[in-house]
Symmetry: C2
Subunit: 129 residues, 2 copies
DNA sequence: GTGGTCTGGTCACCTACGGTAACCAGAGTT
DNA sequence: AACTCTGGTTACCGTAGGTGACCAGACCAC
């Protein structure tokens, strides 16, 4: 058993409710707005940079680069550069990245399922009444 | 079937990859750093404001208030105020909020499971080599 | 050889969001 | 009158994240 959070030995892997805990850092990273979408956009195949940018509407070049770098660093995607002209760069989920698809898909499905309910709740809440 | 994203009728509930799409807005909200932790901290019971603040180490009063208000607006939690002295405020997940626990728990488990792998990947990546 | 194209980036700039800490109500307690 | 408690709100500030310009570098058309 590995103790990852200072002073916390009861929870293997660390208690996400403890600040500065690695688990929480990871939760922050994968809960990141763009990471979720990149994982979904990559799916089980490979995609080029520009392809991802096109798929994920609204993402800026900077944020896509940044997100992909972070994900590469975290071992979630692999980056393959082909010295062609013009340069071709392909991204692909690693096994770890693939394993994230399940949980994230569940989240996506939840939001689609509860979309109507949330919208209604908001309208009710916002009513001056 | 409800078309929620302008020009998108193929995906019921909306395509999260379309910007401005309600599904994406919800994904942003629940993917929010603090919302995830509040859902976990509330669990299946009720909790007072100060209790949540204590459980979620590192959250500021402002962000807890803000997060809880948003969640209340989204119909994820109920807020009950008891006109005692001092004032007592209790929060509880709604059914919708409860249904979020599964997906979020999966995410939490993923991050605990892959903690080691990610840390290693980062170290390898950061090596000047 | 000069201009235009393509890709995948980087860089400066600025806004907006999140964090910090101070302050508040309002009643009870000493 | 001063101090406690809870559950906030507010001003302030720093740093993320977004925007748009610019870059490499090789190819093609003229």
């Amino acid at each position: 058993m590995v103790t990852t959070c200072a002073g916390v030995s009861a929870a293997p892997g660390g208690d996400p409710y403890q600040q500065g805990c690695p688990t929480r850092r990871i939760l922050d990273r994968i809960g990141d707005r763009w990471t979720v979408l990149v994982v979904g956009a990559l799916g089980d195949g490979t995609a080029r940079f520009s392809e991802l940018k096109r798929r994920i509407e609204g993402i800026s070049q900077k944020m896509l680069t940044q997100t992909l770098r972070e994900m590469e660093r975290d071992g979630l995607v692999t980056r393959t550069m082909y010295a062609q002209v013009p340069v071709r760069v392909e991204y692909q989920l690693t096994d770890a990245g693939m394993s994230l698809r399940g949980p994230l898909k569940a989240l996506e499905e939840w939001s689609i399922e509860h979309l109507g309910m949330v919208m209604t709740a908001q309208q009710v809440y916002d009513q001056p009444s």
